[in-house]
């Protein structure tokens, strides 16, 4: 190392450190912030979701097509579930990314796993979003007893 440092002149030590090459906002920091922000929001979303679905009314026994359709007839619940879907999956996906980074030591499995993760997250988000928005609570030809009350109107 001393080959390039001439003995009598010591280079400015602060110029040696360029490991990051990154200035300003950094994805790791954003991801860290996001985990916390989304986590805080998810508490409300998920607890609300669990409360309505598992606590009120008949609990898990009461969940059926009619129940879901009834909820999504209301834009409030549409937005609620949409947010939960996006935040939950991105939060969870990002969390699993960290886990993969931690345990997959060599780069090939790391890439493969992260690829799989990305596909799973994207597919699930797209699918879920489509379902929420293109959902028809009163599909034609369905057995009427299975449909929510709104369809009778």
């Amino acid at each position: 190392m001393s080959a390039q440092t001439s003995p009598t002149r010591i280079p400015d030590p602060t110029t040696r450190y360029r490991r990051t090459g990154q200035r300003g906002v950094n994805t790791e920091m954003l991801s860290w912030m996001f985990m916390r922000a989304s986590g805080a929001l998810l508490v409300i979303l998920i607890f609300g979701h669990l409360f309505v679905n598992l606590w009120l009314g008949l609990g898990v026994k009461g969940i059926d097509f009619a129940f879901v359709a009834g909820k999504w007839a209301n834009p409030f619940w549409q937005v609620w579930d949409l947010l939960m879907l996006w935040l939950g999956l991105i939060h969870g996906g990002n969390g699993v990314r960290t886990i993969i980074n931690d345990y997959a030591r060599s780069s090939t499995p790391r890439l493969v796993l992260k690829g799989l993760l990305l596909v799973a997250v994207v597919v699930t988000i797209v699918l879920g979003t489509l379902v929420i928005f293109t959902f028809n609570p009163c599909p034609a030809g369905a057995e009427p007893s299975l449909l929510p009350a709104v369809c009778q109107g």
Partner: protein
């Protein structure tokens, strides 16, 4: 192998006639030249009241098996040579009194985790010091050098007092689960030493250090598992220091 040795009475310490007792150390031995993986070996020695794990290791090395290798120097917790895993936790052997351990069972002694083991309890410290060097662990003061000392109020001095205590023993870094799986992580000790300068009112390179620690292998890897804080033999609030660095990065960036 089990071996037993008698020890001549230890230096008389303060209290009354000190009772002696038998204690077994189960040590994780490793010699790369043997071609064998590491294995456990038991040693039973007779020790006394105020003896520490280091004294027991010495007793073994001096009277039972000279090939047992470990680092040590000061023997009172200030030089940072002898961090090791004792009963599953990182401690300094010279600061761990035998009487504070459960001696009815063998005491497990292993090298610290996450750094390459060189022999027995000795690990390669180079990766550790490499990370330390990368956070610019020195004062960088711009501007005219004053003729007398730089002034600093007692409060400003107090701001980073805790992190000046670090003896670079690596007990923290090698207790960190993130570091075990990702040796690229700077690790708590490097962050502690960055903290010591970032919060020094005389220093002008805080920005740059924050930038270094804002990298992929920087502070964001810390998952607040607190192993480091529990392990630090100097009682440094390591996780707190890391949290303060995180806050500083956020405040400086947004």
């Amino acid at each position: 192998m089990t071996a037993v040795a008698e020890k001549t009475p230890a230096p008389e310490a303060s209290a009354a006639e000190i009772p002696s007792f038998e204690v077994t150390l189960r040590i994780n031995r490793f010699d790369p030249d043997s071609g064998k993986d590491s294995s456990w070996e038991d040693f039973t020695v007779t020790m006394h009241g105020t003896d520490r794990v280091l004294d027991a290791l010495h007793e073994i090395k001096w009277h039972l098996d000279g090939s047992l290798s470990f680092r040590r120097s000061c023997a009172h917790g200030v030089c940072g040579s002898d961090a090791m895993r004792i009963n599953g936790r990182n401690r300094l052997a010279c600061k761990t009194l035998l009487k504070d351990l459960d001696i009815s069972k063998p005491i497990l002694v292993e090298p610290i985790k996450g750094l390459p083991v060189e022999k027995d309890l000795i690990v390669d410290m180079d990766p550790f010091f490499e990370s330390y060097r990368e956070i610019m662990p020195f004062l960088v003061a711009k501007g005219q050098e004053p003729s007398r000392e730089r002034l600093q109020s007692a409060e400003e001095r107090e701001r980073f007092d805790d992190t000046t205590k670090c003896i670079l023993c690596a007990a923290c870094t090698s207790s960190c689960p993130v570091f075990w799986t990702d040796g690229q992580y700077f690790g708590p000790a490097a962050i502690v030493n960055a903290h010591r300068f970032i919060f020094d009112s005389r220093d002008d390179a805080g920005e740059q250090r924050l930038e270094i620690l804002n990298s992929k292998e920087g502070v964001w890897r810390c998952r607040t598992t607190f192993n480091c804080s529990e392990a630090c033999p100097r009682g440094i609030q390591v996780t707190k220091a890391i949290a303060e660095v995180k806050q500083a990065v956020i405040r400086g960036r947004i």
